[in-house]
Subunit: 331 residues, 2 copies
């Protein structure tokens, strides 16, 4: 590091300067102070670890900072809440240069601007590897948060947008350089991995349309659906033919040697919304999402009494394994 901690903090304060609505005391004191909102508060924290969640050789500091904010905003969105404030704790190896660190903060700042939240505090540390730990605080009207635990038997299972591109984007980034990176589908996959989108407005639309349960798909559809069902004490039957597989997985399949459906089911990091909703409410929600956000809503199955199963195009039913990202998976 070519700056001392205090010099780095001073530089970061410049990047983060400017007063923001509701912020009484921002970066630079023992703690930040904000005005209390009128609703309930939603709080989430998510950590990105070098070598596990990112590789400084693969992603730029700016993309990393941007994504670190977005994955937390996505968790707030999945409660049907609005993000308001962010705090960041960083560990940086001693050889990190100040420019990389400033780019990281630039990316966080850009994401905060995009989603209308303020970065109000943080902590800087030395570490063997880089670690970016973010906390985001949001707001929701009292009693209006949509939990994972509200799914009812007979509800439809719906998913926004498309799945699998983020995981394929990581595969592409790790594969030897080739023409794919310059192709339209290649760029789509990389954008999905390095510049994910949090569905804040879409989640609120689904909540207003009557979503009974909701979560974001961060660890793969199969795994996140398994968690939603476990919290709701129900099961789900998914129609494999209706899974919204990202179109760019088509041309990617051969180049990256991946199975598009499998990638869509288990890939993770798509940050799309997975929700349950009464059958009669699906069409209205779909029309609203299309009109307001140009986002599709796929009706992929139904909530059943118990078990997690998939039905293929030929009507064969088999167990849907809740595969996906497990940080401590046995080898």
């Amino acid at each position: 590091m070519d700056l001392t901690e205090d010099e780095l903090l001073a530089a970061i304060r410049k990047v983060l300067s400017g007063t923001a609505p509701g912020v009484v005391v921002g970066v630079g004191d023992d703690a930040a102070v904000v005005e209390a909102g009128s609703g309930e508060q939603v709080l989430t924290t998510d950590m990105l670890v070098e070598g596990v969640h990112f590789d400084r050789g693969l992603s730029s500091a700016r993309d990393l900072g941007y994504k670190a904010i977005v994955v937390n905003v996505s968790d707030v969105a999945a409660m049907a809440a609005s993000p308001r404030f962010a705090l960041v704790s960083l560990a940086l190896p001693p050889d990190t240069d100040a420019a990389w660190t400033m780019e990281l903060f630039g990316g966080m700042r850009a994401a905060c601007d995009e989603y209308a939240l303020s970065l109000i505090g943080g902590d800087l540390n030395r570490g063997e590897v880089a670690v970016v730990s973010i906390t985001v605080v949001g707001e929701v009207a009292p009693g209006r948060a949509v939990l994972r635990s509200g799914a009812k038997i007979g509800d439809r299972v719906v998913v926004t947008g498309s799945l699998g591109a983020a995981a394929a984007g990581l595969l592409l980034a790790k594969s030897p350089p080739g023409r794919a990176v310059g192709s339209d589908w290649g760029r789509e996959l990389l954008a999905a991995q390095f510049r994910p989108v949090a569905r804040v407005g879409e989640a609120q639309t689904l909540a207003q349309a009557g979503a009974t349960a909701m979560t974001d798909i961060s660890d793969g559809l199969a795994k996140d659906l398994g968690r939603l069902c476990a919290e709701s004490r129900v099961g789900a039957r998914v129609d494999l033919g209706r899974i919204p597989v990202a179109e760019s997985l088509g041309p990617a399949a051969e180049v990256l040697d991946l199975d598009p459906l499998e990638t869509a089911l288990s890939g993770g990091e798509d940050y799309e919304l997975l929700a349950t909703i009464a059958p009669s409410a699906v069409e209205g929600a779909r029309a609203e999402l299309r009109e307001r956000f140009r986002v599709t809503l796929a009706d992929i199955g139904a909530i059943i009494e118990e078990g997690l199963c998939a039905v293929d195009r030929d009507g064969r039913e088999f167990p849907l394994e809740p595969k996906g990202w497990d940080h401590f998976e046995r080898p």
Copy 2:
């Protein structure tokens, strides 16, 4: 790790079970939901990195979890606020056993019980080294937070309790086993390092007594006083004879080859309060702290126009170097 992530999360939820005041949704959903308080909110985040802030060979998982909460509570306290909620993001090496992790959560739970806050959310990750990143949210009456920036020329500089024991405790823990560990002073030093105390009530007492600026001493008195003065755009003159050097540093000096005064000035991790207050208010604050908390208040100097200087017992004045913990210090 001998458990999967979901198994570990389930076990942790048992340790954290129980509903708490103000918590609408705790651990287990995309985000936690809490009732908004009536005051302003105070938010802080602090990260402990293995090999930098702790060593799994030196501190028990329970002490580490306890301390990780306390250092954040101390930042909230230093604003004269009350802690209410905590979130934790963890990175754990794959070889971490579940028992160690449960002890870590046990320590966090114990600290949360001690300081009356609730652990409401978290994130578990794999990492090369263990990282514990905590965010604590607190509450303070509107306009009542005590910042670093309010010190006025002529104010007295006061410090609660005594300084230097935590840094000496770390030296003792790292030194070869000997009789010192079993002595009263040895145990005091180790307790200061591994079971720090956050001055929550004491800070509110100082605020009510009229403290104009306040911070906790986490990076050493000299450094934290330098930061307070920089934020307040003032200077300070400190009387070295009045620095409250921890008594246990006396017997420790020879065994650990340390200078008690130097350790008290620059050691860090004491989590005592450093405040500025009008001269007329010192006696009242001191009496109140003694009666309510049995905590001493040392009047160590004065706020002056500019510069940071120390006066020794012979009246000689020299610059007080803002030494202390710098995560990126040049070698």
